[in-house]
């Protein structure tokens, strides 16, 4: 049945958890594109036939107008026209079905790619430029390129403004927060102190400094 594979693609996109990506389904994608090309192969001859029918009808009408014809001949000509019109209708309906299925497949494909692209866009806000491996293997090559381009675009905007927009995601309660370091990072120069970030160390850091480490998962905030 036309459109079944495309709706499978869309269901796959919707069934995962919101914000999580599944591996890019290359096989199903290729099958839907093949189906589209199949539709086109059916569509083109049908359109040609419709055009032929229309030309025939036009010729008939012109010949009727130009020549003076008898009553009998007129009736015969009307009957022929009806035959042509019926044949044309069948072709028109066939062409319509192929056209609509093609458009539906296109919509499903675009929805699949577009929704994945939105998830990738939101990733660009959380992660800086390097994707963690588990996410990277789920993307197609074009999506990886898109992520890089998008990160570069965000970067160009922030550098023009001179204001880092990826920190400060939640409203601040205290200027300094208590954090525990989860991984060995070593000695880092922060905005107001030089800190040795060894594993399991508990420190008081400026919020904006700590946020980038927290979002990468290298630190956790201790509340209370």
């Amino acid at each position: 049945m036309y459109g079944k594979k495309a709706s499978e693609l869309v269901k796959e996109c919707v069934s995962g958890e919101p914000g999580q990506l599944t591996t890019f389904n290359n096989d199903l994608f290729a099958q839907v594109i093949e189906e589209c090309n199949g539709h086109l192969l059916h569509l083109q001859p049908l359109m040609r036939k419709i055009q032929e029918h229309e030309n025939k009808l036009k010729d008939k009408r012109r010949s009727e107008d130009e020549m003076a014809i008898s009553e009998d001949e007129r009736r015969k000509s009307e009957a022929e026209k009806t035959v042509i019109q019926t044949a044309m209708k069948a072709d028109q309906f066939g062409a319509l079905i192929h056209h609509l299925s093609l458009v539906r497949n296109k919509r499903c494909l675009m929805a699949y790619v577009y929704n994945r692209a939105e998830v990738i866009k939101s990733l660009g806000w959380v992660v800086d430029c390097v994707l963690p491996e588990e996410i990277e293997e789920k993307l197609s090559s074009s999506e990886k390129e898109y992520f890089k381009n998008h990160a570069a675009t965000l970067q160009s905007y922030t550098s023009e403004l001179d204001l880092d927009l990826t920190v400060d995601m939640i409203p601040p309660k205290d200027p300094y927060i208590k954090v525990r370091v989860l991984d060995d990072i070593g000695e880092i120069v922060l905005s107001d102190q030089v800190a040795n970030l060894a594993r399991h160390a508990m420190l008081f850091l400026r919020r904006t400094d700590a946020e980038q480490y927290i979002s990468q998962g290298l630190m956790e905030e201790l509340t209370g």
Partner: protein
């Protein structure tokens, strides 16, 4: 807290004075931007002034820290600075995320395009280019000729029907500062709504769009 009859004018003046400070204006712009479904006008002057003030505060805090002023005072100033910075960043971030969501629609609509700042327009152009290139690479180049547009469904479509648009008829909660009287919500012949000062209303965004633009109504 009802102000006394004789003091009401003084309180009004105080309130109007407070409401025009930059931090209040920034808070208001930030709230409106967060609540509205489409992008609002960019407050260029406000952003400029806020950044200058933030810079001034940073220098003041540094001086205090150097001169050994009471640490509590320093941390209070620091706190205020952080909060203003957060407001500014969140305002710009919300706008950017709205642009990302509907970038093709914004490019097409002149009214929305004019609401962006220059840097945001550059960002929107690049963002749209990235998205179009990605879509073309993945899907559109493999489809037949008449169906390769990312804006139209096929060559036979009348308008640009593949562009996602923001939903303008969602309900939002709003409050007006002054008494606005009877306001006709839409053309369907329903009764006009009486908008009083300081009352909360839940109305569809489409109906009160002009009021939000002129600043008479605030979104909550």
């Amino acid at each position: 807290m009802e102000p006394g009859a004789g003091e009401s004018s003084a309180t009004d003046d105080y309130e109007s004075l407070i409401s025009t400070t930059d931090s209040e204006l920034l808070k208001r712009a930030w709230r409106n931007e967060k609540a509205a479904p489409e992008i609002l006008k960019f407050e260029a002057a406000l952003v400029q002034r806020s950044r200058q003030q933030i810079q001034l505060m940073e220098e003041t805090v540094e001086e205090f820290a150097k001169n050994g002023v009471d640490p509590l005072t320093v941390s209070l100033y620091q706190m205020d600075l952080d909060r203003t910075l957060f407001l500014l960043r969140s305002y710009l971030r919300t706008r950017l995320q709205k642009i990302e969501k509907c970038v093709l629609h914004i490019q097409k609509t002149a009214e929305l395009w004019n609401r962006l700042s220059k840097q945001e327009q550059k960002f929107a152009v690049r963002c749209a280019g990235d998205l179009t290139q990605h879509l073309e690479q993945t899907v559109l180049s493999k489809l037949p000729d008449q169906y390769q547009s990312h804006l139209k469904q096929s060559g036979a479509s009348e308008g640009d029907d593949m562009v996602p648009e923001p939903k303008l008829d969602i309900y939002i909660i709003c409050r007006s500062k002054k008494f606005l009287g009877a306001f006709q919500l839409d053309d369907s012949g329903e009764e006009p709504v009486n908008i009083e000062a300081d009352d909360l209303y839940a109305l569809p965004y489409k109906s009160i769009k002009p009021l939000v633009e002129s600043g008479q109504i605030d979104l909550v």
